[in-house]
């Protein structure tokens, strides 16, 4: 069985035995509003899994290495795509994008949640979340 590095944040992201990721939001118990990432206050927010599939709402490419801090990635830098993904009629979530060339993303394309290995500057590894082209029929 492959080894999966621990999630970048336990409340945000869970991994099942096969490494399949689920993202979580917090549902405001009073107003019903969905909040992401889920706030820590359990008395006000109920943890709720988000849909795994969605559509790309917008995107860009991070072409220079962000300043550290806050960026905790390794010194060696490769540009990466980021985007906002509309998850059904629930919420629009910001995430890294993966699985396509940097110029291969398009607004409205179907995307699906994947776990992505992320190496911190100290060499330790985590799993973060990303979206890749695929999922629901276009």
């Amino acid at each position: 069985m492959p080894h999966h590095p621990p999630p970048i944040d336990d409340r945000l992201l869970s991994l099942d035995a096969s490494g399949r990721p689920t993202l979580h939001a917090g549902r405001d118990r009073q107003s019903g509003r969905l909040v992401f990432p889920p706030p820590a206050d359990h008395s006000r927010f109920a943890l709720e899994p988000l849909p795994r599939e969605g559509r790309l709402w917008s995107w860009t490419v991070q072409r220079f290495r962000p300043k550290s801090p806050p960026y905790a990635g390794p010194e060696a830098f490769k540009p990466y795509a980021v985007g906002y993904v509309a998850l059904g009629d629930q919420i629009i979530v910001e995430a890294r994008l993966t699985g396509a060339p940097l110029d291969g993303y398009k607004i409205d394309m179907p995307v699906v949640l994947v776990g992505e290995a992320f190496e911190l500057a100290d060499g330790s590894r985590r799993t973060t979340f990303a979206f890749a082209p695929g999922g629901m029929a276009a």
């Binding site: 970048i8 944040d9 917008s58 860009t60 890294r96 992320f118």
Partner: protein
Amino acid sequence: MSDVHIIGAGIHRFGRTPELTGLEQGAFAVRQALASTGLDWADMQFAYGGSDAAGKADTMVAELGLTGIQFINVANGCATGGSAMFGAYVTIKSGEFDLGVAVGFDKHPPGAFDPKPAEWGLPEWYGDTGLMLTTQFFAMKIQRYMAMHGIGTGTLAAVAEKAFANGALTDHAWRRQPLSAEEILSSQMVSDPLTKYMFCSPAEGAVALIFASEKKARELGLPSVKLRAAAVRSRPPGSFEVFSPALDIERGPSPTVIASTAAYEMAGVGPEDIDIAQLQDTESGAEVMHMAENGFCADGEQEAWIAEGRTRIGGRLPVNTDGGCLACGEPIGASGLRQVFENYMQLTGRAGARQVGGNPRLGYSHVYGAPGVSAIAILER
């Protein structure tokens, strides 16, 4: 209740000034503003001032004079200058004082800003994994806007080309070298679709404005403009802001839209009455979107407006006549007051090589920044 006038203005050149601290640039701007009126620091009854990263404004009394003045520091992120001006506005309007100053200054290191997640109420992973960049936000906002409203990259380049052309005519601008649309489009891609020359850079600079009541302005007999509206608004539900890990599916207006609506109402004028506008242009797409958010055109009409040169000096609505943030850089605490300074110079006919013709009467300024705040001022000659 008194009407509020601006009777003097000073600026320290934007860009890089290694030999002066941000505070010293602030004091320079205050002295220049005072000199423009013939008044003395001791005549000032109150001051509002601030910077985002260059120190406490009120410490400049050490340099300007220990007159015992009421000096209030303002710290309101990208709206620091706009908020200092709002302080001056209500202070005079209320009748509490009738002569005072608002000053904003800053000095940022080169490169993109490096925010700390905790200071923005965000979890560490958001910064760790490389999602916490203002540049990404601006790129994704304009990327979607372009797709929804049929704006092309040529329009983004035309906005930056105009900014550098105007900057070349402006003494206080940082970047004074005109650039062609081709050079702008082919410069390094930073965050798609925005290239290096479509983004402004953090910088240094300072601006001071002298405010007076109607009665005081008349007594002094100085060239003055009336501050018809000053409004600062934070974000409403459903807006799209810097550093948002998620957005509500139900979309809403921006803080700019509500600040703008409030300012037009205060002034009793509409966007069609405005002769000249300074709009937040953190990157060229921001100017495009802010033209619509401030009510000057409908979404998508910018493509034709810009192609026809309507926002150039000499156009129907000149926008960012001093080159805006693109040519001046963005010292956060000073940036909003620079826009008001520029409108003051234009409305009093002293903008030199970049002077807008036809005796402009109403000048509009709009500053926007993280985490979703807009400040609008409307000046009348």
